[in-house]
């Protein structure tokens, strides 16, 4: 177990380092210049140049690269190109916000999908199962930005039950979490159902039934426990994708999250902020996968990592 | 004799590195084959016997360069470079990829497992024609003719061409495997436990077929097996392998009558004898085959040898010649009188 953790952490550092270097190179290859953006389209060249000089964009690339990497090694991710705030101060609250959104959405998606998926498998190929399948397919193929805007008009504008933007009270969580969670729940339900149907077709289930165990016990105890392994993988990957997929939800509900920060940073060429967000994003993602791997050992005692 | 040598293996070694840790450093190595010498004459069958894990399969594959050996030389008499002239001894281990591809026509392999050695997605015709396609020989109809010939030679009908391997029994599949090995009329065929996966009743059929083919096409076999009973009838000479080395090598009759290594004796005691009155103490070897990663010091067999003494623990025995080309590596072979199974 310890070896798994250590090797993952080392991989994390290497991956992050590669990512940072890659992004650095990339951002200087693609068109678009922060000084130009700041100065506006109509600014004369010498004034754009003065912004470059003022903010250090005019230094040779190698100098910028080594300065940046040197600082990163000391835990300093530099300043935002524009707001001149330390990147860490910008990124950390965003991570918390996104984690809150994605976490709640995952929780919603996980519970919904476990319940719906299990019942669906239990009533395999009967009307309930078919209903669940249709609903989840509709959920999968409605883009989040459509469900989001419909949710906003129904629950916030017309019914005035819920607020739209921000995240100060629990009410603010309802719409974004429901929107993001519903999409994930739709995907998960189908997969939980697959895993459960598979588990229910195993010999030990027949044995359990033969022993006269009530169907509830068979499904929720025997089958669910055995379907858990693929389901955990699923949820682990799902959390990562929820984190990333939250960009759209964050934009619609004006949720001050990491995804939106990253998109803004890309579009406004704020390289330090982008680097910082991606660095921490990668770390979160790797940590989530690590936790999933650890949960594996709990779900399936046959697996060990030594 | 030298004129007739087909294969000459000298000091063949094959080791696999064991990597550990994040940096994948080589921390140890498995010496699967550790200095094997073997000479096979044209037209003969040599048996290579040992327990599973002793390196006999690896040795066979190293000779064919299916797994490139770590050291030693493998010389095969071949005409690939002779331009129609007389065949010469050619070192397989130093062959270029191009030469190696040509060498494949002179040396072939029959696999142990007739189930997994045939691609289930291909038809029998495709399977047997594959070597021809690989080597770029003949056109479609010529290849089909050759496939029919080969099928006939191994006792299958031309109507089998379009079928898939799973439609055949184990014995039939092994016949397909043999047919494939025969495609180029190779000089050397290494048969890697060709019958051990088959039912006993079928084993004899396949072995008889192999013997028939040998006389028909003048084949030379290196016959690998894990017990002596199989090789007894087909082999002229038998080599016994233990932990990557040959511990005894002799004519079949000599070996069976007069084994000179305790390991051979132990193997032989497991051979069933078709005589209800024959009573014999079965020698049960103690313990498992030691790990080839850290072979025991001295004679590698000493931890399991009922006759081991202090010298066995300390010194590595060398393969000694006892005349009549009977070789064995045992410190105490002169002191012991090991029991064989009488000629039958």
């Amino acid at each position: 177990m310890l070896r798994l953790i250590v090797s993952r952490l080392i991989f994390m550092v290497l991956a992050a380092f590669l990512l940072l270097s890659f992004l650095f190179a990339l951002f200087h290859l693609i068109p678009g210049d922060p000084a130009q953006l700041m100065a506006g389209d109509n600014a004369p060249e010498h004034l754009v140049q003065s912004i470059r000089a003022a903010y250090g964009f005019d230094q040779p690339l190698t100098t910028q690269y080594f300065n940046y990497m040197g600082k990163v090694l000391q835990g300093d991710f530099g300043l935002s190109n524009y707001s001149r705030q330390p990147v860490l101060d910008i990124v950390f609250p965003r991570i918390v916000n996104t984690a809150a959104l994605a976490g709640c959405a995952m929780l919603l998606a996980m519970t919904t999908s476990l319940i719906l998926g299990s019942f669906s498998a239990m009533f395999w190929n009967r009307p309930l199962d078919k209903g669940v399948t249709v609903v989840s397919l509709i959920g999968i193929c409605t883009p989040v930005f459509v469900t989001g805007i419909i949710g906003i008009y129904v629950f916030a504008v017309w019914l005035r039950w819920l607020p739209i933007g921000g995240m100060s009270t629990w009410k603010h969580f309802v719409l974004p979490v429901a929107t993001l969670g519903a999409y994930q729940a739709a995907i998960f339900t189908r997969m939980v159902r697959s895993c459960m149907v598979d588990a229910l077709s195993r010999d030990f289930i027949t044995t359990a039934r033969a022993k006269g165990a009530p169907e509830r016990t068979v499904v929720f105890h025997h089958a669910l426990r055995n379907a858990l392994l693929p389901i955990i993988t699923l949820f682990g990957l799902g959390l990562g994708h929820t984190l990333g997929g939250s960009v759209v939800t964050e934009t619609i509900f004006n949720w001050p999250g990491l995804g939106r920060l990253m998109v803004d940073a890309i579009l406004s060429r704020d390289l330090p902020v982008l680097q910082g967000s991606i660095f921490f994003f990668a770390i979160i993602f790797i940590l989530v996968n690590l936790i999933v791997d650890i949960l594996y050992t709990w779900a399936d005692p046959r697996i060990s990592y030594d | 004799m030298t004129e007739d040598v087909l294969l000459e293996v000298r000091g063949l070694r094959k080791s696999f590195p064991i990597r550990k840790g994040l940096l994948r450093r080589v921390t140890a190595e498995v010496k699967a084959v550790d200095g094997v010498d073997l000479t096979i004459a044209r037209g003969e069958t040599v048996g290579l016997v040992g327990e599973s894990g002793c390196g006999k399969t690896t040795a066979g594959r190293s000779i064919l360069h299916l797994t490139p050996p770590t050291g030693g030389s493998v010389k095969l008499r071949t005409a690939i470079h002779a331009n129609g002239g007389p065949a010469e001894m050619f070192d397989v281990t130093t062959a270029s990829p191009k030469e190696l591809k040509l060498l494949r026509r002179d040396m072939q392999i029959i696999f142990q497992d007739p189930y997994s050695s045939l691609d289930p997605r291909m038809t029998v015709g495709e399977l047997i024609a594959e070597p021809l396609i690989v080597q770029g020989i003949g056109n479609r109809s010529e290849r089909l003719d050759r496939v029919r010939e080969l099928l006939k030679a191994v006792g299958l009908g031309p109507d089998h061409i379009g079928r898939h391997p799973h439609e055949f029994s184990g014995g039939q599949r092994q016949r397909i495997g043999i047919a494939r090995a025969l495609t180029f009329n190779p000089n050397l065929i290494i048969a890697d436990e060709p019958v051990s996966a088959l039912d006993v009743s079928v084993q004899a059929q396949v072995i008889n077929l192999m013997q028939d083919l040998q006389s028909e096409f003048g084949l030379t076999y290196l016959f690998i097996a894990h017990d002596l009973s199989v090789v007894r009838h087909i082999s002229r000479r038998v080599a016994v392998m233990y932990l990557g080395r040959i511990v005894e090598f002799a004519d079949t009759a000599t070996l069976f009558a007069n084994p000179r290594h305790p390991y051979t004796e132990a193997l032989m005691s497991a051979v069933p004898v078709a005589d209800p009155d024959f009573q014999r103490a079965r020698i049960r070897l103690q313990g498992d085959v030691p790990s080839p990663i850290s072979p025991p010091p001295g004679c590698p067999f000493h931890p399991r040898c009922p006759y081991a003494t202090a010298v066995c623990k300390a010194e590595v025995p060398v393969l000694r010649d006892f005349g009549n080309s009977h070789q064995a590596s045992c410190h105490r072979t002169e002191e012991l009188s090991l029991r064989g199974v009488g000629a039958d």
Binding site: N125, I140, F145, I231 | E130
Partner: protein, 308 residues
């Protein structure tokens, strides 16, 4: 193949949705000829008309016929997703096969790179790529393709790793076959099944990610219609002209559902695990509960879906 068709034709759901998918592709291919009117023809006097007999899905703000635009969008969407798929398959499968077969440091490097690519959530990766390649069809194709590249590398590599252990591969080597021959003749036939299944399941993901890119302003650009982008434009006018959302929604829905269900069915039919004994066993079990055999989604199905 005949065997497969016979087996597959028993799966009613698969056949129905397979036919729908084929119909969608036929619409895509023949889009130019079957559009009721020119999808680019603006008629400012006819802007934003609700659905009518003349315009089934209404007209957009420039008076363009939404039905024609949805039909053309089918072609654009099909072209984009299929190209992205080809990109991912044609690049990913050979890479996966080669590194899987040869192993060594190249394998290490490629696998680490795919790990890093998997760290990036698909949409993020796509955003970065679109910014580099420019928001155009090409950019979206590369972005989508790249986002699924690691999956195909991994599938191909995984299969290669297991197949190259097979004795029949060694037999081919013994016959003198080089690695290209082995990859082509022995390994590729084993990879095609999981690749086809993954491909069917990837198509709807591509469609949805393309629409998310459009929402962020990074998708296929106007006036070229694409479902996601049409949905996004309809969203802007959702209250003023709610009918604009009908056409693209219906198209997207049909496509995603058919591809998903077809993917599931193919998986069952093609997956040897679900054939033969397994099916028999399940039949015995489920027949007792009054269920017919047929649709078994197994762990592998879930895994394939998780990987997306």
């Amino acid at each position: 193949m005949r065997n497969f068709l016979r087996q597959f034709s028993r799966d009613r759901v698969g056949v129905v949705f397979g036919l729908i998918l084929i119909a969608i592709y036929i619409v895509a291919i023949t889009a130019q000829w079957i559009v009721p009117s020119d999808p680019y023809k603006t008629q400012l006097s006819q802007g934003m008309r609700p659905p009518s007999w003349e315009h089934w899905f209404g007209t957009d703000q420039f008076g363009r016929d939404m039905l024609s635009r949805v039909i053309l969008a089918t072609q654009v969407t099909a072209k984009i997703t299929t190209s992205a798929l080809l990109f991912a398959v044609l690049l990913g499968v050979p890479i996966g096969m080669i590194v899987g077969y040869h192993g060594g440091w190249l394998d290490e490097i490629i696998m680490r790179i795919t790990d890093i690519m998997l760290i990036f959530p698909i949409i993020m990766l796509a955003i970065v790529i679109v910014v580099i390649a420019g928001p155009s069809e090409r950019g979206v194709v590369i972005a989508l393709g790249m986002s699924q590249l690691p999956q195909f590398i991994r599938i191909a590599r995984g299969v290669t790793l297991s197949v190259k252990q097979e004795l029949y591969v060694e037999a081919a080597i013994a016959a003198g076959a080089g690695w290209p021959f082995i990859l082509r003749r022995h390994i590729w036939p084993n990879i095609s099944t999981p690749v086809i299944v993954q491909a069917t399941l990837t198509l709807p993901v591509f469609v949805l990610n393309a629409s998310a890119l459009s929402y962020l302003g990074l998708g296929v650009q106007p006036p070229t219609p694409e479902w996601g982008q049409m949905l996004n434009e309809a969203k802007e006018l959702l209250i003023a002209a709610p009918y604009l959302i009908i056409g693209p929604s219906v198209a997207l829905f049909l496509f995603v559902i058919s591809a998903n269900l077809l993917g599931d069915s193919l998986q069952e039919t093609l997956n040897p695990k679900t054939k033969g004994q397994r099916m028999k066993r399940e039949f015995q079990k489920f027949s007792r509960r009054g269920l017919k055999p047929g649709k078994m989604r197994v762990e592998r199905a879930a895994r394939a879906e998780i990987q997306r």
